[in-house]
Amino acid sequence: MTIRVATDVGGTFTDLVSLVVDPATGTQSVRIAKADTTPPEFERGVMTVLGKAGIPLDRVDFLAHGTTVVINALTERKGARVGLITTEGFRDVLEIARGNRPDFFNLHYRKPPPFVPRHLRRELAGRISFKGEELTPLDLSPLPGILAEFRAAGVQAVAICFLHAYAEPAHEARAVAAVRALWPEASVVASHQITREWREYERTNTTVLSAYVQPAAARYLGRLKSGLTEAGFGGRFYVMQSNCGVETLEAVAETPITMVESGPASGVWGAAALGRLIGEANVLALDIGGTTAKCALIENGQVKLSSDYWIERTRVTSGYPIMVPVIDLVEIGNGGGSIAWLDALNKLHVGPQSAGAMPGPAAYGRGGSDATTTDANLALGRINPDYFCGGEIVADMPAVGRALDALATPLGMTRTEVARGILRIANNNMVNALKLVSLNRGYDPRDFTMIAFGGGGGMHAAALAAELGVRKVVIPAAASVFCAWGMLMSDLRRDYVVTRVADFTAEKADDVAALIAETQQRAHAMFAAEGIAPSQVRFDVYGRLRYQNQEHSVEVPMPAGPLDAAAVADTTARFHDIYQRHYTYRLDVPVEFVGLHLVAAAEVGKLAPSPLRPTGRTLAATVKGHRSVDYALEGAHDAAIYDGDMLEPGMRFMGPAVIEQPGATTVVHPGQQVTVDDFGNFHIQIAATEG
């Protein structure tokens, strides 16, 4: 028996997916479960969900875990007191930041305060040049005094970031060793352990935030690991990362900041993995939750990462950068709980404010008086009031009516008209977000299949796809626990991003080749320390190339063989093509290499899901009934209501229809055809629209 388990701690629920394979027969069974998330002792919810699903922990050989502990510590400001040590002359970099003011007409703009106050930002003499050469030796003599003052000030974690450490980390490494020797109890992290990219503000802030969350993350993971061990778990334990891979506990404990977006990453990774399973290489992933909608683009089965990631960055505030490889997605404040509101001039808006879990949508009956997207979906019959949240909550329809009236009356409209308006505006917000990841980057959404998940994915996907010209939507069988499913499909993965500027020519190619080889060696060494042989490690190598003097680079796959003149010419040609696709023109100027992005991955016993076996149930047996469903633009139709958990491979039916499952509702518009595939996923064929 092989048992693999993934648990995902979300804001409201802790989800579990397990895959059990009988090696004798090859038969698989999938189990899913949900339990309440239990802040601040998140590990309790994890143990509860494991118990609820009846997982025999002593027989589990692979456990992947995703947690929001890092992002929570950041957004709730519940991290450690951090002291920063940086290069002489640069302690205020953290406060100066980039000087921008996104809310540009507002003369009362507040700049986000740094995570380390000025008196805890200290300097050491010593300079490395951008070429990695030492200009001034590092002077560690003030360090004991600095650390004594840090101790006196209650500092718990030390962050170290020196100028140009991305090019040569020797000074940082010496400072880390010295801090450890002088103050073994403090946690300490240096920028080069997290990133090898330039831009000192971004790197310093990243290091500070990693130090800030380190004690909390270490405590949490420690408690979880010992809880699991006590319960008999002796298998391999991995933690989900923002780069769509899993990582060992030891590596995560050192630089926990890489977990910051692990939840969304696992969902997108799940979409990529599902796409590979069902033969869809080009995917638009859409995750609609309670407060936000997230979307990402997958091309040829490859997810896209970016290290230009910021938290708390909105249209009105600059936020904080975290320079680690993070799944490249667009997130907007538009989920099921997003509040519809009228501005002073009676114009209707939806989001970004959310009713959250408390009081939640008006329909929760917990005193929420604002109409949300969920309330509009209920009022239009798209969500079944008698099967709200899988039947766990009785929808308070009078409260929904009152909330919609509060908008309808000033507008001189009916409840239905307002509910349709909410839906259209919410959908348009999501269409704009989907365009940002597709059209905006030179991809035509018509060439992609949409995979939609999260509580609201199935509710909106068919309408969004029709608007964008997407021809097919897939709603995964495990839509409600899809992030946990994605973790189950993850590899041990490490992304190495290294800044190194060089002319990209045949003459200078040796430098680039050396950098690639050197970085691959670093990766092999890390994997070897965990008992993974070089032959098991797979590399994808991308060069970050740009036109000379430009700033923003484009990632171009590098050839597998030697980097000779022909390979350089090929890669350059590929750069021009990719550049033109994204930006519509090309230039006849020299091309520059700015850095390397090396993806190193090793499979850690991933399982391929096997097809389900139909029982021979008839389609009619899956119909729960009929009701009037309002499709907004297409008006109200009598729709068949299907029990999603009863649907079997090979079944096929036409919209108007609604598929109901405990954690997810899928709305199928008139004229759209649904097919259930071998794995229980719903494929919705979108009729071709004009334009």
Binding site: R91, N100, F104, R315, L439
Partner: protein, 531 residues
């Protein structure tokens, strides 16, 4: 889905309006990602916009607020110069001359594209970006010694760069021949063109989806909505007439009168001095933008700005004056006059309503131009960048430290690590300015100190750090802040301090220190309580 030209219900209008805004932002992102010059992609000294067929601003990408309202004025000028009948699909116009719709100075290249759907002009897409060099008497084109506009570079008088889809090759050739940085120019130009065409495609898709009538109705509705928002904000301001006089470093007195009525906000600059043979003149359109900034901040500080937002605003200028100069007047350093004018209107009103406006900020773009040969690559470099400085305190909080001035917005400083690699200078330090100043119940924010050690055998520095040598003003009993200035420590031991320089020769080992001021304080310092 919806039938084209379906009755334009309020939700259809809202969907079109948010799509237009998204297109503006997409154009902005595209230009940022492809531009060749650091001043565009890093500093984001650029703006994008969409107007209706008559040049009324419908949407702008984010960026620099004082660039938001340039595109509409440029489109209006192109229409006036060429006539609507002569404007055809596939045309693309370029201008940089304040007298030909360019608004600012010759460095700012405005590109405009008329968008046609099914043979009808439905909109314009436009962008403006600061190019690092457009010729003229000094590298970077902005010389403090310029006495007429011809010394500031190539004038592009709202001419076609493309005619009915075909590139007008001679114009490209003339532009290339008139810059010290032809490669950057080529890249920046194509980045700008690509962004316009992207916006064009998106607008055409939108018009096809919803119909011309609904598209036009959505723009008109947005104008009305913004106008009503502005008027609602205006009614909350205390009515009255306020005046302020300010003596500049040249001894000239600027006088502003602001009259606030329940339905009109009038900024009268008619009493300001005549235009001068210095690069500090500001086009009338530029003066209007200064007034728009303060008007918007007071009535509706949200980000949405369109033609309707500014309908209740009247700006009076006197032809021949510094704010309505004749065509030959140089304008290279117009931005220092504009930020000073913003500061003057702001100050004038802050005295009357200290609860609605912060105390004075460092009030300068602190334009810094350094050029030379990179000692590592041998290639020519030109740094063109503004600096961050201290902002004034408000009634409820200390001022923010080290942010770009009010005319800027999504403007980013250049990281020291990138500056060292790209320009071949050594950044000795970058820290907050601890000079005293800005005391108050709430304190002014700190300015910044940045040091560059020159590694090249020689380099040249031009700066304009505030036309006025005075300190940022305090408010409601708060104290004044500290001034902006530049120092050079010569390798032979000498030290020079100044606020304006043109093409100052520097040698290897010289250290340039860029210092920006602390903002003004708010309230009596004796009432300061530590939290």
């Amino acid at each position: 889905m919806a039938a084209p030209d379906a009755a334009a219900d309020p939700f259809t209008l809202a969907v079109i309006q948010s799509s237009i805004a998204a297109i503006g932002e997409e154009m902005f992102a595209a230009l940022r990602q492809t531009a060749m010059s650091a001043i565009i992609y890093e500093v984001l000294d650029m703006g994008t916009g969409i107007t209706d067929p008559d040049g009324r601003l419908a949407a702008s990408g984010c960026g620099i607020p004082t660039f938001v309202a340039v595109i509409d004025k440029a489109v209006a000028r192109v229409i006036a110069l060429h006539g609507t009948a002569a404007i055809r699909p596939g045309d693309l116009f370029v201008t940089n001359d304040p007298h030909f719709g360019g608004v600012t100075h010759l460095n700012d290249i405005v590109l405009l594209l008329p968008v046609f759907a099914d043979g009808h002009l439905v909109a314009w897409t436009g962008n403006i970006a600061h190019w690092p060099d457009i010729g003229g008497m000094v590298a970077g084109s902005m010389g403090a010694d310029a006495t007429d506009i011809w010394q500031e570079g190539l004038r592009l008088p709202a001419v076609r760069l493309f005619e009915a889809g075909r590139a007008v090759a001679p114009v490209f050739a003339i532009m290339r021949a008139n810059t010290r940085l032809p490669e950057a120019l080529e890249g920046d130009l194509w980045a700008g063109i690509a962004a316009l065409r992207l916006g064009e495609r998106r607008i055409v898709d939108l018009v096809r989806r919803y119909g011309r009538a609904a598209f036009a109705a959505a723009m008109a509705d947005a104008f009305d909505h913004s106008e009503q928002t502005s008027r609602a904000g205006l009614r909350h301001l205390p009515p009255g007439r306020h005046s302020l006089r300010d003596t500049g470093p040249d001894g000239q007195v600027w006088t502003v009168h602001v009259e606030i009525a329940p339905d009109r906000f009038t900024v009268d600059l008619a009493d300001c001095p005549d235009a001068a043979a210095t690069p500090y003149n500001l086009s009338r359109d530029g003066a209007v933008i200064a007034a728009q900034m303060i008007f918007k901040a007071l009535t509706d500080p949200g980000q949405t700005a369109n033609a309707g937002s500014f309908r209740p605003l009247t700006v009076i200028t006197r032809p021949g004056s510094i704010f309505d100069p004749p065509p030959h007047a140089p304008q290279g350093l117009y931005f220092e006059s504009r930020i000073r004018l913003i500061d003057l209107i702001w100050h004038c009103l802050a005295e009357a309503m200290p609860h609605l406006l912060p105390a004075g900020h460092f009030a300068s773009i602190c334009s810094t131009v350094l050029s030379g040969l990179n000692p590592d690559t041998g290639r020519r470099f030109t740094v063109v960048e503004p600096q961050v400085g201290g902002w004034g305190a408000t009634e409820a909080a200390d001022g923010i430290s080290a942010n770009f001035a009010a005319g800027h917005g999504e403007t980013f400083n250049c990281p020291a690590e990138i500056a060292e690699a790209r320009y071949g200078v050594l950044v000795g330090q970058r820290r907050l300015n601890d000079a005293p100043g800005g005391a108050g119940r709430f304190r002014g924010g700190r300015g910044a100190v940045t040091e560059w050690r020159i590694r090249a055998p020689e380099a040249f520095l031009s700066v304009a750090y505030g036309a006025a040598p005075r300190h940022p003003w305090g408010l409601a009993g708060g104290e004044a802040g500290s001034p902006n200035y530049v120092e050079v420590d010569r390798s032979d031991g000498g030290r020079e301090r100044f606020t304006v320089a043109t093409h100052l020769a520097l040698r290897q080992g010289d250290v340039v220190r860029l210092v920006t001021g602390t903002g003004g304080g708010h309230g009596d310092p004796a009432r300061r309580t530590l939290a």
